[in-house]
Point group: C2
């Protein structure tokens, strides 16, 4: 095996519509990207075939990491429950992929999608120089991944980082999780679109942002209010963990500069003893690559632990 | 030096009214306790004299740990700001004590009081068998210390664990910190007394608890409501860190069994995807010893790092 090949890591990011994968060098340089349709209805065995094929095409070396949305049994390498990929509920994905690649199961790592994205940003993105930060992904929901001392925090049951389900307003909208006023009911891309529609503003967030940038006061005010709710949620992470660095990603993360004054106001409103200057709020850098990059990294880390 | 003496650790817990100190064996057995009046008005040099004397009386061995309420500069061994002990604001306590004891400054550790209490419970109390937990101290305020993987989380600025300042109700009472509806405005001992007084119930919490135990429905209901607010606050730690173990201490912690149904209801109300069975809520075991025991432990840990 050449040293070039040894220094290459492969990650896979499994989503509801696409499987993204890629190869990255040990120093964090992206070498190659792939994306194929998820086609989950073809079943879990077929999915394992296609993941293994992607890894082989990318000349995977010794380890592969896989990011999956949902609740995982990391020790068994199994997906316990995935809201958007229910076709793989209960499937022992790690064993299936390891068998096809003829590598030990310990060299295939499985991790939550929000956590791999955070690790991707920590390793090769906006969190490169940050020991401690929270990655917040503003999309259909609000995802989160906590990095402390350079390491992902998964929590006792593997559900840590769910900033989207911090209660912002006990009288707020009903969340998909069954609780009221979760951050994601107020500050996800979906929530921002809904709030825009209610005010007869464009529900397309690129359009809404353009309108705010062009000086529309009502669009600016709405984005301030959405940022305010986001900051109120981040305040919980500040108070509990004294986090000072937030990395904002996801499609709606593109509006960060319009959201920023609201975010700072929300943090100041609810985080005891801190002022805006205490915070660093950064845009995520890896965009749609964050997941597979972090998966590649975690594959490498787990492989080292096992070797 | 005998092996007995080597295996002994000394900790000091500096409070607004008393300085508690003690010696504990390496296996966590309490050997000796002291308590002297704080008398902070005698000034910081006199305070350092008395702390050094206590350590010598306890035959301190090689390291001493000191717990202090307030914001610390750990590297400089200095108290930046202490709300209740403003007489030592800015004082280089570590150097002053190390000099008097003729030991290297690296062998005197300074840590926040809530954090040393959490470490005390982690080492020799209710958290002995728990890798991850949150210690909640119900007193004048609500203090907190987070232990993950057996280690205290201090956070970027040393302010982590401040569960008392998680916002429970944005329209709630004004907190001493200047924010509204912080957990401690609703569930501290002070807050419980105030809520009792407002309902013409006994503001003495032992009396209130006795009344609830004897079947008084109004007293039971109030303690349920206080527990509910506490559970709502703990939910933030569950959602963010997936913590499953809570250790409840402080004077008002004695009412844990009366608070428990409310705590579980509050957690269920706000923590996504968990039910009461997912949690372990334990009474703290060390009572007023938690602080100095944890300080002794941290002195030992820092001493090992430096040796």
């Amino acid at each position: 095996m050449s040293s070039d090949r040894e220094s290459l890591r492969v990650g896979v990011d499994l989503g509801g519509t696409a499987i993204k994968a890629g190869a990255i060098s040990a120093s964090g340089q992206i070498l190659e990207r792939r994306s194929i349709p998820a086609e989950l209805d073809r079943g879990p065995q077929d999915l394992a075939d296609r993941i293994a094929n992607l890894a082989r095409e990318l000349d995977f070396g010794e380890t592969v990491g896989i990011g999956v949305p949902g609740l995982l049994d990391r020790e068994a390498g199994r997906v316990i429950m995935s809201a958007n990929l229910h076709q793989i509920d209960g499937f022992a994905l790690v064993d299936a992929v390891a068998e096809r690649l003829e590598i030990p199961a310990g060299n295939v790592a499985l991790e939550n999608d929000a956590n791999v994205a955070a690790l991707g940003e920590a390793w090769a993105g906006a969190g490169r120089e940050q020991a401690d930060f929270l990655l917040v992904t503003l999309g259909t929901g609000v995802g989160g991944g906590i990095v402390l001392g350079g390491e992902i925090q998964t929590g006792t049951g593997g559900l840590a980082g769910e900033i989207g389900h911090i209660c912002i307003d006990p009288n707020g909208p009903l969340c998909g999780c069954g609780k009221h006023g979760c951050l994601e009911t107020l500050a996800s891309a979906t929530a921002a679109s809904r709030r825009a529609r209610e005010l007869d503003l464009p529900e397309d967030l690129a359009e809404l942002s353009a309108q705010a940038t062009n000086g529309d006061l009502r669009a600016q005010e709405l984005l301030h209010d959405v940022g305010l709710d986001l900051g109120r949620g981040l305040a919980a992470a500040t108070v509990l963990l004294d986090l000072r660095v937030y990395v904002i990603g996801g499609g709606f993360g593109a509006a960060l500069e319009l959201l920023r004054p609201g975010i700072e106001a929300g943090l100041e409103e609810r985080a005891y003893g801190r002022v805006a200057e205490d915070y660093t709020i950064l845009p995520a850098e890896l965009g749609p690559d964050a997941g597979w990059v972090g998966a590649a990294r975690i594959g490498q880390l787990r492989g080292q632990e096992n070797s």
